[in-house]
Symmetry: C2
Subunit: 466 residues, 2 copies
């Protein structure tokens, strides 16, 4: 594998700048930005085998993309020229930041078959007339994805850092060695303007972990800078309908910063991951009720992905009945349940010596799945989304986890059949206040003026990846 | 979660022994063996919800098994009493050793949907009359598995060590939080006689890594002890048709030790994992030929999972044509190709700072898949298997990686349409000699008398998990 600091290809809008130039800037309408450490392909035409139809010819655009591809993924595959793949769908580009970290390492391998396969639309479903025979309950969504998505080729674009670049190469090599049949392109890089190009999905996992003694305001600022830059990069080069899932903590406020720095991408396309919290809450209710967790539905996590989060046992259901009818222990619901969900990550770090990368990765896949498969009738899922026009009376212009439903087209609507009592509202207001305070801390990154940080001292932040 | 050192249940054949008693022994026909640190369920009948049909009643046997289950998996689920699950297949028990390590952590999560879903038989396939519409080429095996296996409930039995027990609890907690619909039981423990009970699959991943300056003979002995004990445990308590995949290095000789200590289990049921080597070899040939890796077939790894392994480019095919017709660079095939495959793991450790856990886990799933799905017509896969009655003239009574074909029933036959030339034979003899030497080193563990270790000094061992 040849590694070189990249040169801008002839005809590119992109100019090379010296290493270390971090900020993107515009000069007379052209993007001037750093292009660093891009892996360029060591496979050239002379190494290609003769006489294999799929190895011949492919349009200039694809060839250009592959200049940045890694190893075996550089090879010229003309999917249309190949009997086996000619009916396949258009390539889906999935960008992943923090790609050398543990969550990503789990996500990229763990969830492969799902990511590879679930990217289908309702239109496809109806066309195939299988809606009636496939059960769209929580058990079988995956099956549906697996069935309809096996003609969905995937390109992975992995974003790392200078420090992690060698590990990123290792990830790409392991992806090669895994022989995933639908994975057709892998590229790695450290410049979001390059890696996010034409991304249909951006899974923003990378964030600085909180150092010992670090103030929350400092962490908000450090990570905010990263997400401001990534928002700008998405705005400049990603698909205009890119779906963005922010995982790096503090994920709600990081997502807000992304939104504010990506004015050309609909705010509705951005999500802060609260799905792991939802999964944990479902599991705890199931455990308490003595049922398997597929019986628990309508589980909302409200608010911030921090310890102020509100796992909602008022609207959640077990076997279609309100949780409170099944679990009579109100004290447990009001106290222990919420605490257990909030503290689960910390307990896992104690047990495991590292953060819960595997189940986080599972929940990222779940979150994607919820957007590309129709939500089961009556059910909903939680996601941290932009609050504009929300029906609950939550403050506008923040990213707040709320109950969502999707038709499976990548979009969502907020659930309106939701009850809010005083107990729940009080807690919603508390997590809302926290998010409004976080927003003030990052005003310099959202274009809202000068930052003013008066966060309460209480430590509500959840552990990030270690 | 309550953790207690276990007591033998009333009526059990198993007696409790003090902590720290390691060896299993028999006394007047009864097994006397250590039972340590078993997680017992904290869910009891009084905590179970009322009025939920599936939470009621289940036979005594299942209840007994669940006493050892973890957390939410302790709950009484009567699959037959539940509309959604009453037509499901019989539970499959999958035991995993080294379950708190990185390979397992990837395997358990990464491959879940496959493991969960691929355990189907040819009979089922034919019954469903879908054979004609599903393409059993390398691209679609998974789909087949995913389609037919979604009614296959799974029990996981995770074996760790005293040292790793807390991490093992963390793994079980993350499995809870992942809400896998078909995962119905998880139990964790450190006693193979307990964990391997009724196992249908045993994935033996755990092994001591080689310490600095450790002689190969010492490593063979230390790991041999582990695999002798695990072989005895499998023999005593696992399903008589358990399929065993040995991953912990040196995996061929460890598998041989297992076989010798499990006389009641057919030797044919034991495998040493060489599938990662096969996958890497396919990838390298694809890279050189400029084709996607699904064009490479009939890739054999011969011999030992060490640097004496022989990736066979004589019989391998690209697009159905002999590799040598497609790749004319014989020097590359004879030298660079083999070296690259052998050294890949070492290069990855350099890049990645740790061993290739993710792709190893992928290859374990591939190995399982190859046994439960019919091998595509004309193709084969590599597995380290017992050499009795092999058609190639390889020494009997060792575990040697060879080309295998399966009908998808869990069993395999050796491929006979294989060419062996002088170049290949010379290399096969070298790896065979190494395995025969390893066998002598562990004679005290295989019942072959006194060990005599005259291994050549050259370091051929591949890196294990770190």
């Amino acid at each position: 594998m040849e590694i070189s600091s990249a040169r801008a290809p002839a005809g590119s809008r992109l100019l090379a700048t010296p290493l270390g130039a971090h900020a993107a800037c515009r000069r007379s309408g052209q993007l001037l930005r750093p292009r660093r450490h891009t892996v360029r392909c060591s496979v050239d035409a002379t190494r290609q085998a003769q006489g294999i139809p799929s190895a011949v010819a492919a349009e200039a655009e694809a060839a250009e993309a592959r200049k940045r591809a890694f190893g075996v993924f550089c090879t010229t595959y003309d999917l249309k020229a190949d009997e086996k793949t000619k009916s396949w769908k258009k390539m889906v580009n999935i960008a992943v930041s923090g790609a050398a970290g543990m969550i990503s390492n789990h996500l990229l391998f763990q969830s492969y078959r799902f990511i590879l396969s679930s990217h289908f639309s309702l239109a496809n479903l109806e066309k195939k007339k299988l809606l009636s025979t496939i059960h769209f309950d929580t058990n079988f969504q995956i099956a549906a994805g697996e069935v309809f998505g096996l003609d969905q080729p995937i390109a992975l674009r992995l974003l790392g850092s200078e420090r992690s670049f060698q590990a990123l190469e290792g990830v790409a090599m392991e992806l090669e060695d895994s022989l995933y049949p639908l994975l057709r392109e892998v590229s790695i890089g450290i410049d979001p303007y390059e890696v996010f190009e034409d991304a249909d999905w951006a899974l923003l996992i990378g964030a600085k972990p909180r150092g010992p003694g670090m103030e929350r305001a400092a962490l908000l600022d450090i990570n905010g800078q990263i997400f401001a830059e990534q928002g700008k990069a998405l705005n400049a080069v990603a698909s205009k309908n890119v779906k963005v899932i922010v995982v790096g903590n503090p994920c709600n406020t990081n997502a807000l910063i992304c939104i504010k720095n990506a004015p050309n991408i609909p705010a509705k396309n951005f999500h802060a991951l609260t799905r792991l919290d939802e999964n944990r809450a479902k599991c705890q209710l199931a455990l308490k009720a003595g049922v398997f967790y597929d019986r628990v539905s309508n589980m909302t996590i409200w608010g911030n992905h921090s310890t102020t989060q509100v796992p909602d046992f008022l609207n959640a259901k077990i076997d279609g009945r309100p949780v409170k009818e099944v679990i009579k222990d109100t004290k447990w619901l009001e106290e222990e349940f919420t605490l257990t969900v909030q503290k689960r990550g910390g307990v896992l770090i104690e047990k495991w010596g590292r953060s819960s990368a595997a189940s986080t990765a599972v929940s990222i896949v779940d979150a994607m799945k919820s957007l590309v498969t129709p939500t089961p009738e009556g059910d909903w899922f939680s996601s941290g989304v932009y609050t504009t026009g929300n029906p609950y009376g939550i403050a506008e212009d923040i990213v707040f986890s709320m109950p969502c439903r999707s038709k499976g087209d990548g979009d969502y609507e907020l659930a309106t059949d939701v009850e809010i009592d005083d107990f729940l509202w009080e807690r919603i207001k508390k997590t809302e206040a926290e998010l409004l305070a976080e927003k003030k801390c990052v005003a310099h990154l959202t274009g809202d003026g000068i930052a003013f940080c008066d966060l309460v001292n209480e430590d509500t932040m959840l552990p990030g990846e270690m």
